[in-house]
């Protein structure tokens, strides 16, 4: 990803290596913390006097994520924004008062445009400057829901493609061809899954299943297999 390196704002960025933007974020003109080499709950960030946004790009279990966000909320008076692509964002926003926004970078977009949520204009303005640094477009939405909209819809399409594979309906390349040339999808579901990462899709489906209790979100065994192979 081509990025614009400078900004007038101060961003504190926390990330884990399994985030797709990890390398890009590390190269930005920001205070960067790799949370795998820094123990997140022991770190003292109180020496940050000036910061516009604290941006969390960790990809960890939902319980740990909530714990981390609560910890950041105690440590900082600055607005916190978290990548909540595979989480129940609506709940996190309710539970953590300092969490002022959410982004959805964990599901790469074929158009480089990402949904985001911002409670207030200060967070929105900060995020828009951050998107400029990243050279991506942001699309403000009304609510992060569970996994925003694009991640949720594409996960269900990909899950169905894996179910179809389980049923021996067709080969992956035929399924990809069918969706690209029959309904003009920009990518076939298997190509898409590769870009997003099977683990991410599985995490989101499991979260949807856990939150809603609806069996429609049951992940395909083949998808589960792919997610566990890597």
């Amino acid at each position: 990803m081509e990025v614009s390196m400078t900004t007038n704002r101060n961003f504190l960025v926390l990330a884990t290596r399994n985030h797709p933007l990890y390398d890009t974020l590390k190269g930005l003109d920001v205070e960067f913390y790799d949370l795998e080499s820094h123990a997140p709950f022991e770190e003292k960030w109180s020496h940050y006097r000036e910061c516009d946004l604290v941006l969390d790009f960790t990809v960890i279990s939902p319980d740990k994520k909530l714990e981390l966000l609560k910890h950041l909320n105690i440590q900082f008076d600055f607005p916190i924004v978290s990548d909540l692509t595979t989480y129940w964002g609506e709940l996190f926003i309710e539970k953590v008062s300092g969490l002022r926004g959410a982004v959805s970078f964990n599901f790469p977009s074929p158009t480089n445009c990402y949904e985001y949520y911002a409670i207030d204009e200060r967070t929105k303005d900060g995020l828009e400057d951050f998107f400029k640094m990243l050279n991506v477009e942001g699309l403000r939405v009304d609510c992060p829901g569970i996994g925003f909209t694009y991640p949720r819809v594409i996960s269900m399409i990909i899950n169905e493609a894996y179910f179809a594979l389980e049923d021996r309906l067709a080969r992956p390349k035929d399924i990809d061809t069918a969706m690209k040339f029959g309904v003009n999808y920009p990518l076939g579901p298997f190509e898409w899954a590769k870009k997003i990462g099977h683990k991410n899709i599985l995490c989101l489906l499991e979260e949807l299943y856990k939150v809603t209790g609806d069996p429609r979100y049951r992940p395909s065994q083949k998808l589960r297999l792919e997610a566990n192979l890597i």
């Binding site: 074929p110 699309l139 009304d142 909209t149 694009y150 819809v153 040339f181 999808y185 920009p186």
Partner: protein, 287 residues
């Protein structure tokens, strides 16, 4: 495999498109419909479409004339028995389709391949009442609307379809610049099954009739997902009733599998008669 002649049965939207595309491939096309006036209207409309394309410089006058010569109307009395391929594109009704295929079996030579453009009826159910030799030369050829433009053909293997038949048609379509997806005979085939949740999940994100939220979902899926149209505007274009009926059909075929369950909002829209663009109102207003 060479295809010199095709009989297209059904002169509705799909039949017209299929007939037009085959004529453009230098294949002699006969177009048949239970209503002779429909065939005439269809041929006039195809000819008008070629004239427009010629005016735009897409085809030369010689090409257009050749296409027009390739396409003719027919009725049950003048079907050419030695036609290489029959493609049925009539109403989605098993009984009516079976009647048509049985009738055609009595007319066409044993070498003629039978195909259906069905999007929801199992190919094997359509072939089962025919003699074994014909069943082996029976397959699904599912085109997408508009057939002359959309590149995909789903080539569907019925229970009795010979492997050689599938590979011959795959090669032929590929040589004629179509993209082929081979699949087994299963409800919705590939596209109508895998695409179900483009609509189904979007309906669950919205959950209620909320125009602002529907606009947001359409916008997100176009801008972030790279889809050409959003699910709600697409359902309005297709017809909410048509989309609901495909969803119900796939859901029923999979023994009410929750992944395919229709959403109550679809049903509400159908019950209220707001079916999309065709009724000047669906998820959005068009008046």
């Amino acid at each position: 495999m060479t295809l010199n002649s095709v009989l297209v049965v059904g002169a509705g939207t799909m039949g017209r498109g299929i007939a037009q595309w085959f004529a453009q491939q230098s294949v002699k096309v006969q177009l048949l419909d239970s209503n002779e006036a429909t065939v005439k209207t269809a041929i006039d409309s195809i000819n008008a479409s070629w004239d427009k394309l010629q005016a735009k410089g897409k085809f030369s006058e010689a090409e257009t004339n050749k296409f027009k010569e390739s396409l003719s109307a027919c009725n049950w009395e003048n079907i050419k028995p030695d036609t290489d391929l029959v493609i049925e594109a009539i109403i989605e009704n098993l009984e009516i389709k079976n009647d048509v295929f049985n009738k055609l079996d009595g007319i066409c030579n044993s070498e003629t391949v039978f195909a259906s453009n069905t999007s929801s009826i199992p190919i094997s159910s359509l072939a089962k009442s025919l003699p074994l030799e014909r069943r082996e030369r029976f397959l699904g050829l599912h085109f997408f609307n508009p057939a002359p433009i959309m590149k995909l053909v789903e080539v569907i293997k019925g229970h009795w379809s010979k492997e050689e038949l599938i590979s011959d048609f795959t090669t032929w379509f590929t040589e004629h610049k179509k993209e082929v997806a081979i699949c087994n005979d299963s409800p919705g085939f590939i596209v109508n099954r895998v695409a179900r949740n483009f609509y189904g999940e979007s309906l669950r994100v919205v959950n209620h009739y909320d125009t602002e939220k529907m606009k947001e979902v359409d916008n997100v899926l176009k801008k972030c997902g790279g889809f050409r149209m959003g699910p709600f505007e697409l359902m309005d274009l297709i017809g909410i009733d048509i989309n609901y009926s495909v969803t119900e059909s796939v859901w029923n075929s999979f023994y009410n599998e929750p992944r395919f369950a229709p959403h109550q909002l679809q049903k509400k829209m159908v019950d209220s008669g707001r079916l999309g663009k065709k009724t000047n109102g669906g998820f959005y207003d068009y008046e």
